[in-house]
């Protein structure tokens, strides 16, 4: 009897399941390393830029221009957040969740896909949280008096850079989980080739 359900075909394959488990373990270790790198190394790299008197003079001289640049960055970042947030929302609701719902309805639910969905939801939520934290810091920076306290301004700028690095890492993380989703579904299609046809 010809069976259309691909996931059930692939789920019966013990070798394939073992391979997926192996990928899962490697994937978890990989993302933990990335997170560790971002949380430990990125802030230090950002903090490597030190304040000097010359920089202070440049900040005082270009204070207004710097603030205009920061406002422009703030606006562009807001646009980027809206664009990426919209895409992530679409992918989650119209694709990932829809596929999992269908698989569950067919009693073919895939534990890796469900786990991937949870990871995506968390990554997207983290992206939004970090973006809000970044925007708050950036807003505080723009409101600072750079003419009279350039040192404080530069220190705040370094803080903003490190928070921005977190947002960048969140985008990379979310994209990595989306890539993982493609990989899992691709394996389902590939794994179901022989038996589905």
């Amino acid at each position: 009897m010809k069976k259309n359900s691909i996931s059930s075909n692939y789920s019966t394959s013990g070798v394939f399941c073992q391979a997926l488990q192996r990928y899962k373990a490697v994937g978890i270790v990989f993302f933990m390393l990335i997170s560790l790198f971002v949380s430990l190394v990125a802030p230090k790299i950002a903090a490597a830029a030190e304040y000097t008197e010359k920089k202070g003079t440049a900040i005082v001289d270009n204070c207004n221009a710097i603030k205009e640049d920061l406002k422009s960055v703030q606006k562009n970042d807001s646009k980027a957040r809206l664009y990426l947030g919209g895409r992530y929302e679409t992918l989650l609701n119209k694709y990932v969740k829809a596929l999992n719902v269908k698989l569950v309805k067919n009693n073919d639910s895939n534990i890796n896909l469900l786990e991937n969905q949870n990871q995506l939801v968390q990554a997207k939520s983290q992206f939004v949280d970090d973006f809000i934290a970044y925007q708050k810091e950036l807003e505080d920076l723009i409101a600072m008096d750079c003419k009279n306290s350039p040192k404080n301004f530069y220190e705040k700028l370094e803080t903003v850079r490190s928070v921005r690095a977190k947002v960048r890492a969140d985008v990379a993380n979310t994209n990595a989980f989306l890539g993982q989703h493609i990989h899992i579904v691709g394996e389902m299609v590939g794994g179901g080739n022989d038996k589905a046809e």
Binding site: N106, K136, N175
Partner: protein, 127 residues
């Protein structure tokens, strides 16, 4: 005389009450607006809202149409059986969405806040 006095008192109190009602309404409106704005700000929603003043697209800002419409026309059917063809189609559209994300040039890139970009040139250190 008594009647007249009573009437005067009633009119006077009514006017006072009307003023109090107006002032109270304005105070309540101001209070609820302030509370709403505090919640809007503290919850972080203000930072996710691009329709707030100063964040609307410029008139000169040219945006590709697809950037403004992130919604995909493709909608994966939640009912029915899972077929290989269905999954292949799913993957194809999914990859198109991923491509749209990858095409976005350096979101939150490092350079935007660099010393050089902001005019706090690090090369000044060596002078």
């Amino acid at each position: 005389m008594i009647k007249q006095n009573n009437t005067k008192t009633v009119i006077s109190r009514g006017g006072k009450n009307l003023i109090m009602l107006g002032a109270g309404s304005i105070l309540i409106a101001i209070l609820t607006t302030v509370i709403s704005l505090v919640i809007y700000h503290n919850s972080g929603d203000i930072y996710l809202d691009r329709s707030r003043p100063g964040f609307l697209p410029d008139e000169t800002e040219v945006e590709p149409e697809d950037e403004n419409v992130p919604e995909s026309k493709f909608d994966y059917e939640r009912n029915g059986t899972t077929t290989k063809e269905g999954l292949e189609q799913y993957l194809q559209h999914f990859k198109e969405e991923i491509q749209a994300i990858n095409d976005y040039v350096e979101p939150f890139g490092e350079k935007a806040l660099s010393d050089e970009r902001l005019g706090i040139d690090a090369s000044l250190d060596g002078e």
